[in-house]
């Protein structure tokens, strides 16, 4: 009887937990969204509050000065233009930062994608990555992972794909390699495509090194990025 009691209790608990699972979802989503909004509100406060208030005040002032002190009005107007342009730039950066996927999200997405494509996935040197933690490189790293993994899925019959991070002095190395090359590219040359070319340009711009091409049994993309960022 004690056992049956325990069983009933356990099942009851299980049912309640399932229900909680469902209602928790809604609640958690709401809280997370709110938290995110508050965070953005804080960012915005710093970014926009100052600039737009300044523009409002200076334009009112310029309007008042126009008759009596036109040269002072002209100075205020020049300030307004500068502040507006500068802020516009800042907003663009903030917006693209909000859109930017974090590297860890990107790696998780890569794992899921490879899994459903039936490709075994290995990640090496994740520790390095955390130790390094360079926000300045996060965008280009995410880009490398995304393009590299997309290519593995599109162009190979890989059974395995490995993403490796490695630090060597002031360089962060990222290697994405896979087996199952579909057609050995002619003369080791890689067909023209926009993905790798764009990536190479960005990496060189950052003062890094870039290499991509077929290897013995597959394909390898290898990039080195200077840890000083830019």
């Amino acid at each position: 009887i004690a056992v049956i009691g325990a069983l009933i209790a356990a099942v009851g608990h299980f049912v309640r937990t399932s229900q909680r699972l469902r209602s928790a979802r809604v609640e958690i989503a709401r809280l997370a969204a709110t938290a995110e909004r508050l965070r953005i509100a804080r960012d915005l406060h710093d970014l926009l509050g100052h600039s737009l208030s300044l523009i409002a005040l200076k334009s009112e002032l310029a309007g008042r000065l126009l008759d009596q002190a036109p040269e002072r009005a002209a100075r205020e107007i020049r300030d307004i233009e500068q502040v507006a342009r500068f802020t516009l730039q800042e907003v663009r950066e903030a917006v693209s930062a909000y859109r930017r996927p974090a590297l860890l999200d990107e790696l998780r997405a890569a794992r899921e994608l490879l899994e459903v494509a039936g490709v075994r996935y290995r990640l090496e040197g994740e520790r390095t990555l955390e130790a390094v933690a360079v926000p300045a490189l996060e965008v280009v790293c995410s880009w490398i992972v995304r393009e590299g993994v997309t290519n593995v899925i599109r162009h190979s019959r890989a059974r395995e794909c490995c993403i490796r991070f490695r630090q060597e002095g002031r360089l962060l190395w990222i290697t994405i390699s896979n087996d199952g090359l579909v057609r050995p590219a002619q003369g080791g040359e890689v067909a023209a495509g926009n993905g790798l070319r764009g990536l190479a340009e960005r990496v060189l711009e950052l003062g890094g090194q870039f290499e991509a091409g077929p290897v013995a049994d597959g394909f390898r993309l290898e990039v080195a990025l200077p840890l000083t960022g830019r």
Binding site: L31, T34, A35, L38, A41, R42, L44, H45, D46, L48, G49, H50, L52, S53, L54, A56, L57, K58, E60, L61, R64, E76, D79
Partner: protein, 144 residues
């Protein structure tokens, strides 16, 4: 003339506010500071009727500074100038002896009116700031 102290860390904003307030005619800015910790000393020296305090400043935020100023110079009416309401701000401001909570970008005529009304003993809260304070409550994540 109404004697006003202005605390605002951004020099350009401060300059524009001083110029606009001076155009009002009956308002004289008797002290300008760019840091929170300069507010009380400057106020004790200049004895303003009204203090306009920015919230985010180096050397002490406007809400905390308001409490100290209210203690040391209780006859001075304190108004907070800010760009966005944040959960808890209005509450804390009112608790710290602040009588007005205004938008920094308000037209200067509105600001001048608020200064006069504060001096006459009224409480002035910009509706959109009150709204933000009311609708957000406290940060929900810290409640759990």
């Amino acid at each position: 003339m109404i004697r006003v102290l202005l605390a605002e860390d951004q020099a350009m904003v401060r300059g524009a506010l001083v110029a606009l307030l001076s155009l009002a005619g009956d308002i004289e800015v008797v002290a300008e500071v760019g840091r929170g910790d300069e507010v009380v000393p400057a106020a004790l020296e200049a004895r303003p009727d009204v203090a306009l305090l920015d919230i985010e400043m180096p050397g002490g935020d406007g809400l905390t500074v308001a409490a100290a100023l209210h203690r040391q110079l209780p006859e001075c009416r304190i108004l907070i100038l800010t760009t966005f309401g944040r959960p808890g701000y209005l509450k804390q401001a009112l608790a710290n002896g602040v009588v007005g909570f205004l938008l920094k970008d308000a037209p200067s005529a509105q600001l001048a009116t608020a200064i006069r009304r504060a001096l006459a003993g009224e409480r002035i809260v910009d509706p959109s700031l009150a709204m933000a304070a009311l609708s957000e409550g406290d940060n929900p994540l810290t409640e759990r």
